[in-house]
Symmetry: D2
Subunit: 256 residues, 4 copies
């Protein structure tokens, strides 16, 4: 049967990425407390395509993903190498997004419940293997300006902290969650009884934070972590007083 994809292409244009996108697959990921956790991944996988080849063999990406058992910094490099071999390419890329559940304990009544955290790996292999881990954590921001100028109350809202790190040694998702929560006015919780709600309300009032503050507090903590070579931090605040979002962003290199 004719193989159109492997024919010669004379247009002499190399492609940076050729592959599949939004492919869903059940996976295991590393879990600090329980060794691993079963979840569902949304996967983009691609390779570079040589200037003189017409096309790639898309089915091979699925054949490779089929064999994935556990997704971790170590196995991702192996998957990329496998792609480079099976698809005869000098570069491979992958983005793996997944939900990750962490245990949260309510601050006063100490009831446990799970909280859903969006995570992702962004990996590439050319000469070198490069891996970024992204973690997206919901928190509370209480506005310092609103508190300072008002006789009582202060507007507050859910905000989303997105941390992306390049690590030289394993960093747990749970560590990123802790950093984001310490840096904000308060963590959010899946389950709060009234005593807990009082605590969260008062604590966030006592700890007002602009999106600017949250980004800086996160950056300070990531800067100190020797296992992290590079990072970026973005915070988006679903402003309660507006119908739009406030945001701030910084990355490694912006600390004086």
């Amino acid at each position: 049967m004719i193989d159109i994809q492997k024919e010669i292409d004379t247009r002499d244009i190399a492609l940076k990425n050729v592959g599949i996108k939004d492919f869903k697959w059940p996976i295991l990921v590393l879990d600090r407390e329980n060794k691993n956790q079963r979840t569902i991944a949304n996967i983009d996988a691609s390779v570079g395509l040589c200037h003189n080849i017409k096309g790639t063999h898309m089915s091979r990406f699925v054949e490779i993903i089929k064999e994935i058992k556990e997704v971790s910094p170590k196995t991702i490099e192996e998957i990329l190498e496998n792609m480079m071999v099976k698809l005869d390419s000098k570069s491979a890329y992958m983005k793996i997004e997944f939900d990750y559940f962490i245990k949260k304990v309510s601050p006063v009544t100490e009831i446990e419940a799970l909280s859903d955290i969006k995570c992702r790996y962004e990996a590439s292999k050319e000469e070198q293997f490069k891996l970024l881990m992204g973690v997206t954590i919901p928190v509370i921001t209480l506005c310092p300006c609103s508190k300072a100028i008002s006789k009582f109350g202060a507007h507050n809202q859910r905000a989303i902290v997105d941390i992306l790190v390049d690590m030289n040694s394993l960093v747990w998702i749970e560590e990123m969650v802790e950093i984001a929560e310490e840096s904000a006015s308060s963590p959010v919780y899946p389950l709060l009884k009234r005593k807990d709600e009082k605590h969260v309300t008062e604590q966030s009032y006592l700890k007002p934070r602009f999106v600017e503050d949250v980004v800086r507090e996160v950056a300070l903590r990531l800067e100190r972590n020797k296992r992290i070579d590079w990072y970026s931090v973005k915070v988006e605040s679903i402003e309660s007083i507006h119908n739009h979002t406030a945001f701030a962003y910084t990355e490694k290199g912006y600390i004086l």
Copy 2:
């Protein structure tokens, strides 16, 4: 050229809807202040299909939508009638979603800016013409429980009020916005200077509202409006203390 669609179908199954979905078209809508407003619609249009006809002629929906100038309760009925004729059907349906800008004035400094409101018409014509207008308004909810149990502060957040009405005479989008805003802890604004922010913060603290309260306050106001025959109200609150939403819903008939 053969016309497969108009062939006889012997499976004897009528279809309630056959049509097109997510078709974008620029339209004019009624504007209380400026007579009309130009916007972009997302349109679903369909007709019923007789049990013995194989298919509908989808291109005719586009030919009809092409001729739309202004979308209003009156023109929507004409559009549906046009569909029934051109597509030879006894029923026609349409959903038209659009962004609508209203002028908002900041509460203290009185600076004007526009605020984006999501609106929709849901229309059907069989024996009778039926039209629902939907308006989705962002507001603030400040939690009465959090305020009552805490020494200071109270969690608050953006909430989304969705009102759907069956009207016997014209009701303006602006009226629905006013009802939603009166019913909540505070309106949201596109633009707030510090004096305005102080006002909004304090006012919302003085007027705590659960999602349950907002639904009831909106329902009370809609109930009193003689131009409204039926309504539903849904409020979703993007809880600042959780990663999930709180909501409440009621409709005509739930008032004792």
Copy 3:
């Protein structure tokens, strides 16, 4: 500590639903082949609120969801009853959406891979328990008109079949997938080698189907199934020749 929610409300408006929305939780669901399957649910849960009570206790929904082990028609009724007791209400509602993986075998080379199916339960309990199961299946539609009028080729595309059923006895997700796939021009597959792609291309060309046809073929099969008391079928086709979607819908009662 004061309990604002349980105070008397004098506005005399009952609420049809009060609860939480978009709450994520890991669950087990029934699996025809492997007894059960681990997945992640997106949950909406609510109860009716009496006309004279100010608010509901939202944290109790999370306390109830926390205890869910396996989600099945049987356990969903127990969960709703639990909500009615713990939240002191005469009605309870729940929507549970989840990804479900089924094994697909490529049609010629017979290689296995998993395919992701979106499923949902929509349940309510007042006097009676009512449960609908929804299954959303991707398929291929090849246009009968395009084939009939063209010298060669025919436009085809991915289409999405959404089936919702009220069952008096267990119906498997897998059965709904089979019905949708038989009714379309062809199933879609996660993994196709060239021999398989040839098969799928030729088979879909030999079996052209409008969205109207797919809806009718699905309806015929659901009508014959004695375990199904009511159903609806919607098919949306991501038209390859347009930038909009074609769709058709019918439900129980439209067969002559």
Copy 4:
């Protein structure tokens, strides 16, 4: 009234971006045929924040956006300069996304209708002004492999071409649409009568294209355009035979 934002920050961390996101505003954009076109923008606007300042004044972004009349490469630079002055910053950024309608004529019956194209500007000003224009165009891809190996038919589907360009002189949105459509198996159309559908079906069968081909054909055309200094091209194909997407990407510098 105290101004918390302008207080000194001693954490010594500069922020790359501080601003607002998802702010909706009605705008005019340039239109090749009609001089300009009214549409609705989704705007992100931010500035850099100095290491020793606590926060930015978010309301000023809205005050600046309020004054926007027409959005064009020229006015965007002025808006960014205005932000730098009013927010006292050495850098400013903006992303403006909008729907743009172009007239499409059906290929045989020559009926006109409008087609919705998603466009965006991504602009920054530090030492230099940098502006990218993005245009996202729906087209048809018909699979060359499927055609070559099958006795009849070939799978085809809607695909999305995303072109991003850095231009040294005005490039029209319409030009980008023409390039994408020439590069694919066929354009898509809002309105096709049967004669047109026959034409589109046959033409796309005669012109099979992988996503790889479409990317290369677009790149060749952009490379030749002297008004374009840099470009990227991404094509995503909503595969009719799968439940996932195939994609390819390249950018300036990959042509031998």
